[in-house]
């Protein structure tokens, strides 16, 4: 009796020792490069996905026709749970797709996780890649290597109420100072409206103020980053944005907690004179009360005639490192992100193309996108291409900073210094 127990204990101890490291999945490139079989694709499920499906189906049908013995299996995954799905795909290469659509702020994180395939050479050889605009190219690039093809871009501009402006005899603001003054005049004349609706948790609506004043989120130092959010220029921008949270424009008690969607919703419901919204907000505003009574211009910069740099959001198409169809998957990525597909996707969904020539053509056809194209042409900014960004983003470093200032808990200097410290800690630990 005693002996087996001891043996069992020994075996258990051995098990514990050998198992004494958390699990890690083997996600190295498979090495195989099959030329036939099934390719699996994950794309995001948009609100009103049917038009997107039609565009993708056409591109896929053409691809299958051009490649004998290849079948493409497209699955649409919900945007809200994409993080879990993609992580699961990285953890279990056997059931992972070959090609995925991903948000461009996730690029650095996914590369760091070891999930995306380096396609630098393929991208350089791709005939269409040349017309890719520089910001979009930056959004697939980490440490000089390319990890996908840009799919579409999204930028924000200034929405304003034409009826309100006409009634009060206001003209469209040409500088940031005029923007603030105009906002206050609207609120003074119509106390039930916010002048310019702003949100304490609306990072990408706030950053143009920082960038227009010459500030930066972070500056790259030899592959690693250092926060620039506490520089004098950045503080000027933070002050400009947070001073809009006052009773004469957008009361802190109501606006401090708002995010981007809340501000667009308020504008669409006719509760604001102006708002900062994206080309992707168009449908929501059209569906609201203000349909037919609004217009869009680029967000003005500090000096007259300049445009405040906008954040270049958008999605990319990438290939997973674990794919067993390397060549085919890269071809499929190019087919899905091609000029032709992007042009039809713009017609179907209104997503702005990442190729400058395709985009100019789209602007000629559809006047609504002109201010957004102008904003893009004026130069856009991007988040630091560091895996630390996802940590900075999810631990709400920037919204916390804006909200601390807005609610009077800290002044601009203290709040930005604290945010810079947290960002640097994240950059440091991400290495």
């Amino acid at each position: 009796m005693k002996l087996p127990i001891r043996l069992a204990a020994l075996a258990a101890a051995a098990l514990v020792v050998t198992a004494c490291a958390p699990q890690t999945s083997d996600n190295s490139s498979s090495g195989t490069d099959d030329k036939t079989g099934t390719l699996r694709v994950w794309l995001f499920q948009e609100v009103g996905n049917k038009p997107k499906e039609r565009v993708v189906d056409a591109a896929v049908a053409a691809f299958e026709k051009a490649h004998d013995g290849v079948r493409v299996d497209v699955e649409y995954i919900p945007v809200e749970t994409r993080a879990q799905r993609v992580k699961a795909a990285f953890n279990d290469p056997a059931s992972a797709p070959d090609v995925i659509e991903y948000g461009n702020t996730d690029t650095a994180g996914y590369v760091h996780d070891g999930g995306l395939l380096d396609v630098t050479r393929d991208f350089a050889d791709w005939s269409e890649a040349e017309a890719t605009d520089p910001t979009a190219r930056q959004s697939v690039t980490v440490d000089g290597k390319v990890y996908g093809a840009p799919f579409y871009v999204g930028v924000r501009a200034l929405y304003y109420r034409t009826d309100v402006f006409e009634e009060l005899g206001l003209k469209v603001p040409g500088t940031m100072a005029e923007l603030a003054a105009t906002a206050r005049r609207i609120r003074a004349a119509k106390p039930d409206l916010y002048g310019l609706v702003v949100g304490g948790a609306y990072t990408y609506g706030a950053m143009p103020f920082v960038w227009a004043n010459g500030g930066e989120l972070a500056t790259g130092k030899g592959g690693s980053y250092a926060s620039g959010i506490d520089s004098a220029a950045a503080r000027k921008g933070i002050t400009a944005y947070t001073s809009l949270f006052s009773d004469d424009n957008c009361p802190a008690a109501k606006c401090a907690g708002m995010g981007g969607n809340d501000t667009v919703t308020a504008f669409a419901a006719g509760k604001a004179g102006m708002a900062i919204g994206g080309d992707f907000s168009h449908a929501a505003v059209e569906a609201g009360k203000v349909k037919g009574a609004y217009a869009v211009v680029p967000l003005p910069g500090v000096t007259a005639g300049s445009i405040a740099p906008a954040f270049a959001g958008g999605n990319n198409i990438g290939v997973l490192k674990s794919t067993s169809h390397r060549t085919l998957a890269v071809r499929l990525m190019e087919a899905l992100a091609s000029k032709k597909t992007q042009a039809s996707l713009f017609d179907a969904m209104g997503f702005l193309p990442t190729f400058t020539d395709v985009r100019d053509q789209a602007a000629a056809e559809e006047p609504f996108v002109k201010p957004f194209v102008r904003t893009l042409a004026a130069g856009t900014r991007f988040v630091p291409a560091s895996p630390a960004w996802s940590r900075i983003d999810s631990s709400l470093v920037l919204p916390t900073m804006f909200q601390e200032v807005v609610s009077g808990k800290k002044d601009v200097a203290a709040a930005s210094a604290e945010a810079a410290r947290k960002m640097d800690a994240a950059f440091g630990s991400a290495g």
């Binding site: 009796m1 004494c20 490291a21 958390p22 699990q23 890690t24 999945s25 083997d26 996600n27 190295s28 993080a83 992580k87 990285f90 953890n91 994180g109 760091h112 996780d113 070891g114 999930g115 304490g200 948790a201 802190a252 008690a253 109501k254 401090a256 907690g257 995010g259 895996p387 996802s390 940590r391 983003d393 999810s394 631990s395 709400l396 919204p399 916390t400 909200q403 601390e404 807005v406 609610s407 808990k409």
Partner: protein
């Protein structure tokens, strides 16, 4: 003493002198010797199925949690982008050196304590009320409580948020508060969440305590009433001591629930309130660790929470045991 629940430390303590034969181990009063003499393995054999299930469902995950908390373990390590590195207590050092963590821990303890006290007070008061009213109002109260109980936390939080909405909410209109924002101030936001937490967790307390009161022999209550005891006096000197085992379970449940509150804070204060003023430990762990896939750090926070809850529960049981012996 009526043992209404199988789990009751008070009962066990008072019953002990009668049950335990002198000189024998308390745990196995087995009079018959098995074949081949005394075999201490037999009780373990009987317990084995339960132990296996417990080990698989409880011990193994806790072991994994503790293990992961000692490593640098992020998404990059899980999916093989980087090798896993042992960091000893590095994750714990990170957690405890974070000012925000200490601040959040303090507010979590205070908030959870307030929630537990309020939930128990409301639940017990309504349970006593249930025994006093006629069938119809009792049914109505029961149905209302069951409704609150059955409502998913996300739905309940959203509805409460709407009730207190500065622009459209009926509460501000009733109280004539104009467009006062309840979620802007730190305390008022916590108060709002506390109300929702109490609303969705009092039914459990009420129903359990009500069941307990019903099982108290009516003669005892009659005797107390004949002696001229007030309602409060009956509760304090008769009902509460008799219901002790139930109250223990209910309190520990509430402590654990309210310490781990997540949904209400996440939904009602939009992920921790203005500048993180309404963060509690669970939301903090989610934001700092899990949302950015820093599983090692998250596991360390999880272990700290586990130890705190374990300590609170043990101290509470210990206190009750002492009191029980005095009675």
């Amino acid at each position: 003493m009526t043992p209404v629940t199988p789990h009751g430390s008070g009962t066990q303590v008072r019953g002990r002198p009668r049950v335990a034969p002198p000189g024998r181990a308390r745990s196995c009063p087995r009079p018959r010797a098995g074949r081949g003499g005394r075999r201490p393995a037999t009780p373990w054999l009987y317990l084995a199925p339960a132990l296996v299930v417990l080990a698989a469902l409880l011990a193994y995950p806790v072991y994994q949690l503790g293990l992961i908390s000692l490593f640098r373990y992020t998404q990059a390590q899980v999916s093989g982008g980087e090798p896993t590195a042992f960091r000893g207590f590095g994750n714990y050092a990170d957690v405890f050196s974070d000012d925000l963590f200490r601040q959040v821990l303090a507010s979590t303890v205070v908030f959870a304590a307030a929630c537990v006290v309020s939930t128990l007070a409301v639940g017990c008061a309504l349970a006593v009320l249930l025994t006093r009213v006629r069938a119809l109002p009792r049914l109505a109260l029961m149905l209302a409580a069951t409704g609150a109980w059955a409502t998913p936390a996300v739905t309940g939080s959203t509805v409460w948020l709407f009730l207190f909405d500065p622009d459209f909410g009926p509460v501000n209109r009733l109280l004539g508060l104009g467009d006062h924002s309840w979620t802007y101030g730190r305390l008022s936001a916590f108060l709002l969440v506390l109300l929702e937490v109490v609303w969705c967790s009092f039914p459990f307390v009420m129903v359990t305590v009500y069941a307990g009161i019903r099982s108290v022999p009516s003669e005892v209550l009659e005797a107390a009433a004949l002696d001229g005891a007030s309602q409060w006096r009956i509760w304090r000197s008769v009902l509460a001591p008799m219901l002790r085992p139930i109250l223990v379970v209910v309190t520990i449940q509430s402590v654990i629930w309210d310490f781990k509150v997540f949904t209400q804070i996440y939904v009602m204060t939009n992920g921790g309130g203005i500048a993180g003023q309404n963060l509690v430990l669970n939301v903090y762990a989610y934001q700092q660790a899990f949302a950015s896939s820093q599983y090692g750090l998250g596991a360390a926070i999880g272990v700290v929470m586990l130890l705190i809850l374990l300590a609170v529960t043990l101290v509470y049981l210990r206190l009750l045991r002492r009191q029980g012996e005095e009675l």
